[in-house]
Symmetry: C2
Subunit: 277 residues, 2 copies
């Protein structure tokens, strides 16, 4: 597969930092930017980032591929403000967990012909350059959502980029992506947050939980900034998923209130069968 | 610390099997029983169980300590049916996640003077003899709830038993235990079950989840038999905890419906602060 000659990675956190590591290891010249100057310094000292971009992405014109790896709302704002500098790139992509907003922003900025949104299903509750590592995307599914105006060249480059770092790519429509992710990713995040919030309000510290409870609340440690942007952008689909989840929670509680052992066991059974599939 | 000379372990699953391994390793003669004959055979072949008890616990009279490591409802029934054979034991204990029911059963069976309920905070979603292992209780907190009539000798033996296998024991009242566990253990189990149930109903397979989502639903793979008994026995306290959790979930969803970014971030923040404590 073709790798970029020069790639700019904006945001050197878990996702951007890991991608920068993998690209540099494949001989790509990587330009880097991060609002945290220490992250850029660390990435340069590690030999991953060859040169730093300016605060307004000055220098990004050298890159044939530009990857935005910042929270989804920041990525949309960046496309609008830096559009003039991005018109020479052959591919502009991102790594956000929602895709409708960023595609609309790319089209609005006149970059739709070269924009293919990306979403690697990698990463966890950790964040920042220090959490980044080589090989993060090996075997990971990567959803690609091309802007409606995106050409074959940009689509091919996006596939090549993520395939080069080990991703298994799959193209889909942005709305189908966001609806699916609301269930498979955003609902578990919201449920874990609500569980942690309820425990915090009740004065139960995390240290009081067993290993299972710590697993159930692990996602609650995720970045509030990253996740409020995701949940807000996907509020319609996440709201639907949460309404279904609320019905399930209420049904279980109602069965307990009624001391209906058969109903309780039926629900535990359904959950276990799903777990074992 | 004093270990029993002869201990009977009824139920050779994750908890009972692990306790039997640790006791046998400390020179205790272990008598074993399990409704699954293969588990008893495996425990004897492993040199852990020296002799099998009969289906009505025939032979248990030889044991000075009897540990019931079966689901909480089964443990209560067993105390009633096997009481005549247990009157010679110096300590009868259990390992269930709820304590009010078993203490009432012990008192009802006339065994209160020698009954000290136990609850090791160990174990996870796995189950059965094959999941048992030496050292499971090393460093684990173990709650002890003596029956009101329990004498100092039984209390001392219970502390010695769990301390011998590495547990850190703590005595408490049964109602305080059950109220606390509703939050720290039973609520996470119920939330994980509801999340898995909602995903199952929506047709989202577990394989579609990322690592965080798989963590959040891990407890849903627990034994329905074990957990329906726990949730039913503690239905009042678990119902209260679930009602608080429902309010938190609804508040998050309502903030999303209203596109209230500040409220969403505030909730994510509260959950993260709790996680980092």
């Amino acid at each position: 597969v073709t790798v970029p000659r020069v790639a700019a990675v904006v945001g050197l956190g878990l996702i951007g930092g890991s991608l920068a590591r993998d690209l540099a290891a494949r001989g790509v010249r990587v330009l880097g930017a991060d609002r945290d100057a220490a992250a850029v310094r660390a990435a340069m000292e590690a030999g991953v980032v060859a040169a730093a971009l300016g605060p307004g992405l000055e220098g990004v014109e050298e890159a044939d591929t530009v990857v935005l790896a910042v929270p989804v709302s920041a990525a949309s704002a960046l496309l609008a403000s830096a559009a003039p500098r991005l018109r020479g790139a052959r591919l502009v992509t991102d790594a956000g967990s929602t895709k409708r907003g960023i595609l609309a922003a790319a089209t609005g900025a006149g970059l739709g012909d070269r924009f293919v949104g990306g979403h690697p299903l990698a990463g966890d509750h950790r964040a920042g350059w220090d959490a980044s590592r080589a090989g993060l995307f090996a075997g990971a599914r990567v959803f690609l959502c091309p802007a409606p105006e995106a050409g074959d060249r940009a689509r091919g480059l996006a596939r090549a980029l993520w395939t080069a770092v080990g991703g298994v790519v799959e193209e889909m429509e942005a709305d189908a992506h966001d609806a699916g992710l609301a269930w498979r990713s955003h609902l578990p995040q919201a449920a874990s947050t609500a569980l942690a919030g309820a425990l915090a309000a009740a004065g139960v510290p995390r240290s009081a939980l067993g290993p299972g409870g710590r697993d159930a609340t692990r996602l609650a440690g995720s970045s509030p900034e990253v996740w409020s942007a995701i949940l807000m952008e996907n509020a319609d689909h996440v709201g639907d998923a949460l309404r279904h989840f609320e019905r399930w929670t209420r049904a279980l509680r109602t069965a307990l209130d009624a001391r209906d052992a058969a109903a309780v066991e039926r629900m535990l059974d359904a959950a276990r069968r799903w777990s074992a599939e």
